[in-house]
């Protein structure tokens, strides 16, 4: 599996209230939620983002609430992968469970800038910065988690 797209970059501690403010959680309709994704810091994100684009964050990405609406809204926006220096644990779990690709790679998250074009190979964990012609290597998933991802999320894996 591979992904390629333009980067939207945000900072450290991007919390779930930024990803999807709680006032919109009166619906579980992911299309409606996606229209408000990242609204507090980047109101135009849902309008600008194209299918396949890549989100990059700093440390503790997805901290705060357990709302699965957060990774789901990012996924619904068409984001192919989130690369961060580290992920908050519930967000990490949720992303895997719903099949949103994430990669932990401090080096890539530091070096990659907004607007750059990046290609990712999920099998090898290699992240290529096509704009800068640089290459970074993400931490591989433990085998057990890799299996959940391969089967298309948690519920498919336990059925």
């Amino acid at each position: 599996m591979k992904a390629q797209g333009i980067v939207y970059k945000y900072g450290d501690n991007i919390d779930t209230d930024i990803i999807i403010p709680a006032r919109y959680l009166n619906t579980a309709d992911m299309k409606e939620l996606a229209a408000h994704c990242m609204e507090p810091v980047d109101e135009d994100f849902p309008k600008n983002v194209k299918p396949g684009d890549i989100m990059v964050g700093g440390f503790n990405f997805g901290c705060g609430s357990s709302r699965e609406h957060a990774p789901a809204a990012i996924k619904e926006c068409g984001v192919s992968v989130v690369i961060a220096k580290s992920f908050a644990r519930i967000f990490y779990r949720n992303a895997i469970n719903i099949g949103l690709a994430i990669m932990e790679c401090p080096e890539a998250a530091e070096a990659i800038e907004a607007g750059e074009e990046v290609a990712v190979d999920f099998e090898t964990g290699v992240i290529k910065n096509l704009t800068k012609n640089e290459e970074y290597k993400a931490m591989p998933f433990p085998e057990f988690i890799g299996e959940i991802i391969k089967k298309g999320g948690l519920l498919n894996s336990i059925k």
Binding site: N13, D15, D17, I18, P21, A22, R23, L25, N26, T27, A28, P40, V41, F59, N60, C63, G64, S65, S66, R67, E68, H69, P71, A72, S86, A88, R89, I90, R93, N94, N97, I98, P142, F144, I145, G153, L154, L155, N156, I158, K159
Partner: protein
């Protein structure tokens, strides 16, 4: 193989002799929790994947507390969907308007969670039940759906930080200040993926309400769980609430902790977390002049009886400042009733506070106290992220109930001693 408290509970629930940090396990669950925001997503997944029964109807709690009494039509639809599911599967612990309380105050109060349990909840503050000596952690809706179907969840066994408490808290300093101090010290990802394990002789002076507040905000340090050693205070709390056997786990003497943090409770001052992260802490003598527009006293963090008692002590015979709205939300119906009995409600209303039925409402910017552009709120809640309680240019300052009540009187963030 020596283990921490958390590791012992996880090993027991995974049917293993021992576990070690980093190990992936599948554990049996004693309780699976959801609320009116996270349950609909879980129910959609449960149904979409063709599950036709729940693992145990007595081990699922569905608590309609976030946007209830229904704030709008969409919120009403979400509660209706959850109610229909609860009735279909005859869920024992379905709580709706009239008997509902804020989930993390309600479940311990009713004895639905106990020492030694392994609990997941589709709400990040599920870590609250660590105060009872349980392993309890927040998960998402898909985990909740899987938990409801199978009674199991996968976990990576966490490493741990030991928090050794000594001494005794001073007046107007509470569990809230202990956890804000700790988060200020280690940061919002200081305990990422790890357990926080609280022990030491300082526990003797910490009430259950203090401990529940401390465990509640373990997630605000990134922790997987925040667990307390069980002592006589814990047992006395569970007595008459928990109608089943429970198990007490203590860490092995040589249990491995990545780090030990010692906090002398007697040295702590009232602490305020400034916008927009819980780690931006200042002690009350450092806050300077911060004018406020609103005060919220309530939530799963500080909506318990002691919090109400503290606020009432401060507000008794006083008035909320002009141009400040003070909203008081007892966390459960039992707490609400006790507030009436003790005369706290009279004190709050005479002071000019609004008192609400239990709801998470304003804490997460749902309703019942949304902030306008540029407004500031002192809240006893748990998060002060950008836009958390309303407009993106509004601000939330996290504090204990005494500071919040004192600030309501003066109209600026204040030391309770100033008004007493």
């Amino acid at each position: 193989m020596s283990m921490t408290m958390t590791q012992k509970i996880l090993a027991a629930h995974a049917g293993l002799e021992s576990v070690q940090a980093g190990q992936l396990i599948e554990a049996k669950l004693d309780m699976v929790l959801g609320n009116d925001i996270t349950s609909p997503v879980a129910i959609n997944e449960f149904e979409k994947n063709g599950f036709d029964c729940v693992f145990d109807k007595s081990k699922i709690s569905l608590v309609m507390d976030h946007f209830t009494p229904n704030k709008d039509i969409k919120a009403a639809q979400q509660c209706k969907q959850t109610r229909t599911f609860a009735r279909k599967f005859d869920i024992d612990n379905f709580f709706d308007v009239g008997n509902v309380g804020i989930e993390h105050a309600l479940l311990p109060e009713l004895g639905l969670v106990a020492a030694g349990d392994c609990i997941i909840g589709a709400d990040s503050h599920t870590c609250t039940y660590g105060a009872l000596g349980a392993f309890s952690t927040g998960v998402g809706s898909t985990d909740m759906a899987a938990g409801m179907a199978t009674g199991k969840a996968w976990f990576k066994v966490p490493s741990a930080i030991k928090v050794e408490l000594t001494g005794k808290l001073n007046e107007y300093v509470s569990g809230k200040d202990v956890i804000l101090h700790l988060i200020g010290m280690i940061g919002v990802d200081g305990a990422l993926y790890k357990s926080l394990e609280f022990m030491g002789e300082g526990l003797k002076s910490l009430s259950m309400d203090d401990r529940l507040c401390i465990s509640n905000m373990a997630i605000e340090a990134g922790a997987k769980n925040g667990i307390f050693m069980v002592d006589e205070i814990t047992k006395a709390y569970m007595e008459g609430r928990v109608n089943r056997e429970y198990k007490v786990y203590a860490p092995d003497e040589d249990a491995e902790y990545e780090q030990t943090i010692t906090i002398d409770l007697s040295q702590l001052k009232a602490t305020v977390a400034f916008p927009h992260l819980p780690e931006n802490t200042k002690t009350i003598d450092e806050v300077g002049e911060v004018k406020i527009d609103q005060v919220v006293i309530g939530s799963c963090t500080n909506g318990r009886l002691e919090d109400m008692a503290t606020a009432a002590t401060i507000l008794k015979g006083k008035k909320v400042a002009r141009d400040v709205r003070c909203i008081v939300i007892p966390a459960t119906q039992a707490i609400y009733k006790e507030c009436i009995k003790q005369g706290y409600l009279d004190i709050f209303i005479d002071a000019g506070c609004a008192v609400s039925t239990p709801t998470c409402g304003p804490c997460l910017g749902g309703y019942m106290g949304i902030l306008a552009e540029g407004e500031r709120c002192v809240a006893t809640t748990n998060r002060n992220f950008i836009g958390r309680m309303g407009h993106n240019q509004s601000e939330v300052y996290l504090a204990n109930p005494a500071v919040a009540a004192a600030s309501a009187i003066t109209g600026k963030i204040s030391d309770p001693k100033e008004v007493m």
